[in-house]
């Protein structure tokens, strides 16, 4: 059974949820791993949302997901079929389909939370923003790390004089991916916009540029030999407190990195780890001893997850017709950084690869 069709001009349910408030009807386009592991659990954990339609080009994927989560949702195979069945949708298809699917949904008056990256090119991203603007609908992007409560801790410390003059920003994100992937969606150059920088690194590129502003004088070294890169070192300059600060970022799919943002100042340093979203570690000199002080964000729900926080923000944005925290417009910068980085890329030195040159 499907939900009744709602007139698009009908006001959406009020933000002050009561038991009688009708839920926001959510559709999901793309029923792969990220939908089952992250989006659906966060939707189900968010009050006032109801999954009313699942869409996948392989209808079987949608049917199985529907059964696995006992959703009782309609099951369709093309995004256009969501029209009238949902108020908003999560787009979780491979990156090269983000633009066409999102634009299609927006044309059908459906607000979108699109998986990161926004698109495979800045040009496609701009078209998506135009489509959202002309429809007057929400377009959010899945950069959950912006919801980590330690972002505010970092901002508070930066606003104080605890660190002294900022000398360096370093960010790293890397690890060996485990699991099973039966299709070359994320590894084939023809099917994706890039490798570790584009797919995983963009989380930190977005977070760093959101926290610190524009990254200039961009450099990139990576290990691509015509295919996707699995290791990438991104460099550039940030402007913090009016001063130029070197920024280095490293990303890897072959080995584990420190998985943190680290800011070193003349007096102290601060570190926020990706795996500890509510904490920040301040390293400073106390009475001649190097100490680490752990700062903890307050008023964080015990069951906090960044995915759920973003889903709640998206639902509220749809309901209240206001911009989401991670608006499409605000994510264009990270896509621009990556596009520019790929233009200036150089080969990362890996002497164990080109061994014949040392023979």
């Amino acid at each position: 059974m499907t939900e009744r069709k709602r007139n698009v001009m009908e006001p959406l349910p009020n933000k002050n949820l009561t038991t009688s408030t009708p839920p926001v009807r959510i559709g999901i386009v793309g029923c792969g791993g990220i939908t089952r592991e992250a989006h659906l659990p966060s939707i189900l954990a968010t009050p006032g949302l109801k999954v009313t339609c699942l869409c996948d080009a392989k209808l079987r994927n949608a049917t199985l997901t529907n059964a696995e989560f006992r959703l009782g949702a309609a099951v369709v195979s093309t995004p256009g079929e969501l029209a009238g069945l949902v108020d908003a949708a999560v787009v979780a298809v491979p990156p090269r389909f983000h633009a066409p699917v999102t634009i299609d949904l927006l044309k059908h008056r459906i607000g979108v939370l699109c998986e990161k990256p926004l698109a495979t090119s800045v040009a496609d991203g701009r078209q998506m923003l135009e489509a959202a603007d002309s429809a007057g609908l929400v377009l959010a992007v899945g950069f959950q790390q912006r919801f980590h409560p330690n972002n505010q801790l970092l901002r508070d410390v930066l606003a104080s004089d605890w660190l002294g003059e900022i000398q360096e920003v370093n960010a790293e994100f890397g690890g060996v991916l485990d699991g099973f992937l039966g299709a070359p969606t994320y590894v084939s150059r023809a099917m994706t916009g890039g490798g570790v920088l584009f797919d995983m690194g963009i989380h930190l590129v977005d977070r760093v540029t959101w926290l610190f502003g524009e990254l200039r004088e961009i450099t990139l070294e990576d290990d691509s030999y015509g295919g996707i890169e699995t290791n990438a070192n991104l460099g550039g300059q940030l402007t913090i407190h009016g001063k130029c600060v070197p920024c280095s970022m490293a990303f890897s799919w072959t080995h584990r990195l420190s998985n943190r943002i680290f800011v070193r100042g003349s007096k102290a340093a601060i570190e926020v780890r990706i795996a500890e979203p509510t904490l920040a570690r301040l390293r400073c000199d106390l009475a001649g001893h190097q100490r680490t002080l752990v700062l903890e964000a307050e008023e964080v729900p015990a069951n906090f997850t960044a995915h759920t926080a973003q889903m709640q923000d998206f639902a509220a944005a749809v309901r209240e017709r206001r911009p989401p925290l991670v608006s499409g417009q605000s994510t264009l910068r990270s896509l621009e950084v990556i596009e520019q980085a790929y233009r200036v890329r150089r080969r990362l030195s890996q002497p164990w690869v080109e061994t014949w040159n040392r023979a």
């Binding site: 070359p184 030999y225 002497p351």
Partner: protein, 385 residues
């Protein structure tokens, strides 16, 4: 005759040797190839090269036929550590190669085909293949090689069989085993590491594969692929283990100690598994679904609780919760397993004389040089601290 292949199909392309072979095929040998992939999460390393990748189920005849179609050379690296699955995969790959009349079939075997304790006549490639050693890896590799020999003799498959030793280099599981152990603070030697380590640098294995593609003299034969000189296991383990900072502690074990520990651990494992089953709430639930057992279990539990004070019940529960799991205990004990015991107590140095004499290949790396290249990768991968 021009022996340059039209296209090579590589099975096991995302494994340790396969990934390095793909790098060399793309960047150095510059030969056209198709990489067989099952799990693309393992394909990141070769995806850097933008190779032709095909999704292949190595057990499916249709899938394998599609993979081999249009290729005249097969390099078969795939291996399943299962004495039925491995041979089944090889049988399917060989069948497809015969059906598609490939020009060359290169089978990557192992010296393990001679068993856990090869006899001295195995110093050359003519030693007998093991029938039933009890070791899954040895038995499956031997069974796979027999399938290839049968196809050589019955179907005229133009095959070359290569039997590498302990293949090391960047991403090598043998190296990572030592490094991971060293990072936990302890490395171990069996019989002071006096056993022979037939180490061969991964590029030398790829070099042998490359030579076998081009050299017709190698057809229908098996070859050991090793460095010119073997090292001891002490050399191998200490060289990599001592790269880690801080330096790990070295534990010494004798063959007898390892054997005894394995015997004890087998008995203990059986008992623990049985006890765990009896104690598990899942088992109780299943058993409790039978009404008569439900009544018995319920009665026993109620009577037991009646006999104990509330504090005692809580203390018992707390003890169960705080007890370390057997797995954690086992991890803390650096006792080598039987696989290591057999590998590291072997004293045979497998000769590469036949390979050197028959086809144009000789190892380019001695252990010092190979270890230096491996070290540069370990540093990059931040595995030395």
């Amino acid at each position: 005759m021009n022996n340059t292949p039209v296209k090579i199909v590589v099975t096991g392309a995302t494994g340790f040797i396969g990934s390095r072979l793909c790098e060399l095929l793309s960047l150095h040998y510059q030969l056209p190839y198709r990489a067989c992939v099952r799990n693309y999460f393992r394909a990141f390393r070769i995806a850097r090269l933008d190779p032709e990748m095909v999704t292949v189920d190595l057990l499916s005849p249709d899938s394998m036929d599609q993979a081999v179609a249009g290729c005249d050379t097969v390099i078969h690296l795939a291996h399943a550590d299962d004495d039925r699955l491995g041979p089944a995969v090889t049988a399917n790959v060989v069948r497809a190669a015969v059906q598609h009349k490939v020009r060359r079939f290169i089978h990557i075997s192992s010296y393990a085909v001679h068993g856990l304790s090869p006899k001295p006549d195995c110093v050359t490639e003519d030693g007998p293949l093991v029938r039933r050693s009890g070791d899954t890896y040895c038995d499956s590799k031997a069974a796979e090689e027999r399938i290839v020999w049968r196809a050589i003799h019955k179907n005229g498959l133009p095959a070359v069989i290569l039997r590498p030793g302990i293949v090391y280099g960047p991403y090598s599981p043998f190296v990572l085993q030592v490094i991971n152990s060293a990072r936990r603070g302890v490395i171990s030697l069996i019989d002071d590491g006096r056993g022979t380590c037939n180490a061969v640098f991964v590029d030398d294995v790829c070099g042998a594969i490359h030579a076998a593609i081009f050299n017709d003299h190698a057809l229908g034969q098996a070859f050991f692929v090793n460095a010119s000189h073997a090292v001891t296991w002490r050399d191998f383990i200490m060289t990599f283990g001592n790269l880690v900072t801080p330096s790990p502690r070295v534990e010494q074990f004798t063959t007898k100690e390892v054997e005894a520990a394995q015997h004890v651990s087998l008995v203990r494992e059986n008992l623990q598994t049985l006890l765990g089953l009896v104690k598990s709430s899942d088992f109780h639930r299943q058993l409790g679904s039978v009404p008569v057992f439900r009544a018995i279990i319920g009665g026993v539990k109620r009577n037991l609780i009646k006999c104990l004070s509330e504090e005692k019940v809580l203390a018992l529960k707390a003890r169960n919760l705080s007890r370390p799991s057997p797995t954690a205990e086992a991890r803390a004990t650096p006792m080598p397993n039987l696989g290591r015991l057999s590998r590291e107590t072997m004293t045979i140095e497998f000769s590469v004389a036949r390979a050197a004499k028959t086809f144009d290949w000789s190892p380019a790396y001695d252990f010092t040089r190979g270890a230096a290249v491996t070290r540069s990768w370990l540093e990059f991968a931040r595995l030395l601290k």
